[in-house]
C-alpha cells in the first residue's frame, strides 16, 4: 500500500483532502465572483470579459481539468466521510440536544453541499455547456440575463447561494482547524474572516440574479 496511501486514507488524511480542496475552491469562488460582477457593467463589459477568457482557452481548459479534479475529490470524499461517520455514530439519542452543542452551519454541511452539487450540475448545464459547445459565437450576456429573467431559475440560484454561504461559513474555519492552524491569537480572527467571506460571497453572487430579475428584467 505504501505510506502515502495509508496517510491519505486515514480519517485525518481524508479530512486534509477536504480542507485542501475546500480552500482551493474558496480561491476559485473569489475569481469566479470577480468575473461575474462585470455583468453589472452591461453587455459589453461582460462579453469582453468572456471573450478574454476565450483568448486564453488552452490555459482555461487546463484550469477546468484541475477544477474538475478538485470538485470531484471534495464531493466524493465528503460523501464517503458522511457515510462512514453515519455508520460510526450508529443510533441517535431520544432527545436532540445538538443545538446546545453546535451551530447549524457545522451540522448541515452534507445537506448544504448536496444542494450546491445539484446547483452545480444545473449551472454547468445552463451556462458552461452552451458557452463552450453551442458552436460559433454566442451572446453570453443575453444567455445569462435570459436565464435570470426566469423567477424559478433565479429563485433556486439565490437559494443555493444562501446555502453556499452556510457551507462556506463552516468550511473556511474548518479547513484551518484541519490543517492544525488553530492558535489562540489568530483563530477567532480566522473565524470572523470566514463568516465575512461567506456573507460577502453569498450576497454578491445572489445579487446578480436579484438585479436581473427585479430591476433589469429580460435585457
Amino acid at each position: 500500500m505504501g505510506w502515502f496511501s495509508t496517510f491519505i486514507n486515514s480519517s485525518i488524511g481524508k479530512k486534509l483532502i477536504m480542507a485542501l480542496t475546500g480552500l482551493l475552491l474558496i480561491i476559485f469562488l473569489i475569481i469566479h465572483l470577480l468575473g461575474n460582477l462585470t455583468l453589472f457593467a452591461g453587455a459589453d463589459a461582460f462579453n469582453t470579459y468572456a471573450g478574454t477568457l476565450k483568448k486564453f482557452e488552452p490555459i482555461v481548459r487546463v484550469i477546468e481539468v484541475l477544477l474538475t479534479i478538485i470538485f470531484v475529490l471534495h464531493i466524493y470524499n465528503g460523501a464517503v466521510l458522511w457515510w462512514t461517520n453515519r455508520k460510526a455514530k450508529g443510533s441517535l439519542y431520544a432527545v436532540n440536544a445538538r443545538s446546545k452543542e453546535t451551530n447549524i452551519f457545522a451540522r448541515t454541511t452534507i445537506q448544504t453541499g448536496s444542494i450546491i452539487f445539484i446547483f452545480l450540475v444545473i449551472h454547468l448545464q445552463t451556462f458552461w455547456y452552451p458557452s463552450n459547445f453551442s458552436g460559433g459565437e454566442i451572446n453570453l450576456y443575453g444567455l445569462v440575463t435570459g436565464w435570470f429573467a426566469q423567477p424559478v431559475y433565479s429563485g433556486f440560484y439565490i437559494f443555493a447561494m444562501i446555502l453556499l454561504g452556510f457551507h462556506l461559513n463552516h468550511g473556511f474555519q474548518s479547513a484551518f482547524q484541519t490543517f492544525g492552524w488553530n492558535h489562540k491569537k489568530y483563530f477567532p480572527l480566522i473565524q470572523k474572516i470566514g463568516t465575512l467571506y461567506a456573507i460577502l460571497t453569498a450576497l454578491l453572487f445572489a445579487s446578480i440574479p436579484v438585479y436581473f430579475l427585479f430591476f433589469h428584467g429580460g435585457n
Binding site: G13, K89, T102, Q177, W181, H183
Partner: protein, 256 residues
C-alpha cells in the same frame, strides 16, 4: 426532608445484552434535590431489588469527577445539561419537580452497549496501548526539575492531561469520533521533552488504531469541547492534525 423531594419521571434505556434490542422504560421516583443523579439511580435500584426486579446497570467509581468511569447521556447531553462536570457531579437540584428525564448510554459504534447504561469503552484502551505512553530507563528516581520545562508549556500539557478518558466526546460527536480524546493524549506527550523520542510513531500508531476501532472522523462541529467534563480544548485536535501530518510526511515508517 421528604417535603422538598422532587417527583420525577425517568425514561431509562434498558437493554439486557449487547445484541438485544433495547427500549426506554418508565420509572417514577421521589428524590432529594441534594442527591446526585447516580445516588438517585442507587435508590431506584434498591427499590427494584426489593421488588425482585432487575436493577439498572450503570458504571461509576470515584464519584468525584476524576476517574472518568461514569458516563450517562441525560436529556441528549453526555454528563447532562451542566457544563464541565461528570455525571456523578450532576445534582438533582438542577431539575424541576415533575420533569421527565431521559437517561441513555453513550452511543457510538465503537462503544457497544454491554447492558442497560454500561458501554464497552475498551477501544480507548487499545488506542492508549498503541502509543499513549513514554519509555523511560529504570533506575534511581530522577531529580526534580532535572529537565527544564517552560511554565506555559507545562501548563498546556497539563490542560491536555486533564482528560479523564470518559468518552463523552465520542458520545457527543455526531460522527462518533474520538479525536478530542486522542488529541489530548497525543498533546500531553508531544508538548513535553519526555515525549519526544516516540513522538512521530506515537501519533501514527494512535490514529491508525483510532480508525481501526471504528471511530468516525472530525467534522469540526466542536460538540466534543462543549460536552467535555474537563473542558479539553479543540485546539488539541488542531495539534493532532498537525502532528499527524508532520509525522506522516517525515517519519521513517515507509511500510504499512
Amino acid at each position: 426532608m421528604n417535603g422538598n423531594n422532587l417527583n420525577l419521571k425517568l425514561k431509562i434505556w434498558r437493554q439486557p445484552s449487547p445484541k438485544a434490542v433495547g427500549a426506554f422504560k418508565d420509572y417514577s421516583v421521589s428524590v432529594s434535590p441534594d442527591a446526585s443523579i447516580l445516588e438517585m439511580l442507587d435508590e431506584l435500584n434498591n427499590d427494584l431489588e426489593r421488588r425482585s426486579e432487575e436493577p439498572v446497570v450503570f458504571e461509576s467509581d470515584c464519584r468525584e469527577g476524576i476517574c472518568g468511569t461514569c458516563g450517562l447521556v441525560i436529556n441528549g447531553q453526555p454528563h447532562g445539561p451542566i457544563p464541565k462536570i461528570a455525571t456523578c457531579q450532576l445534582h438533582m437540584r438542577h431539575f424541576k419537580d415533575g420533569d421527565t428525564i431521559y437517561i441513555e448510554p453513550f452511543r457510538a459504534k465503537a462503544f457497544p452497549v454491554i447492558k442497560d447504561l454500561a458501554v464497552d469503552r475498551s477501544a480507548f484502551d487499545k488506542i492508549i496501548q498503541a502509543g499513549g505512553y513514554i519509555s523511560v530507563n529504570t533506575g534511581g528516581v530522577p531529580d526534580a526539575n532535572e529537565i527544564p520545562i517552560n511554565k506555559n508549556i507545562a501548563s498546556e500539557a497539563f490542560d491536555s492531561a486533564a482528560c479523564i478518558g470518559c468518552g463523552a466526546c465520542v458520545a457527543a460527536c455526531k460522527n462518533g469520533s474520538a479525536m478530542l480524546f486522542v488529541s489530548a493524549k497525543v498533546s500531553q506527550f508531544a508538548l513535553l521533552p519526555q515525549g519526544q523520542s516516540e513522538r512521530k510513531e506515537r501519533v501514527e500508531a494512535m490514529v491508525a488504531t483510532m480508525d481501526e476501532m471504528g471511530f468516525g472522523s472530525c467534522t469540526n462541529t466542536y460538540a466534543c469541547e462543549a460536552e467535555c467534563p474537563k473542558g479539553i480544548s479543540v485546539r488539541n485536535i488542531a495539534r493532532l492534525n498537525r502532528e499527524f501530518l508532520i509525522a506522516s510526511l517525515s517519519s521513517q515508517n515507509v511500510e504499512e
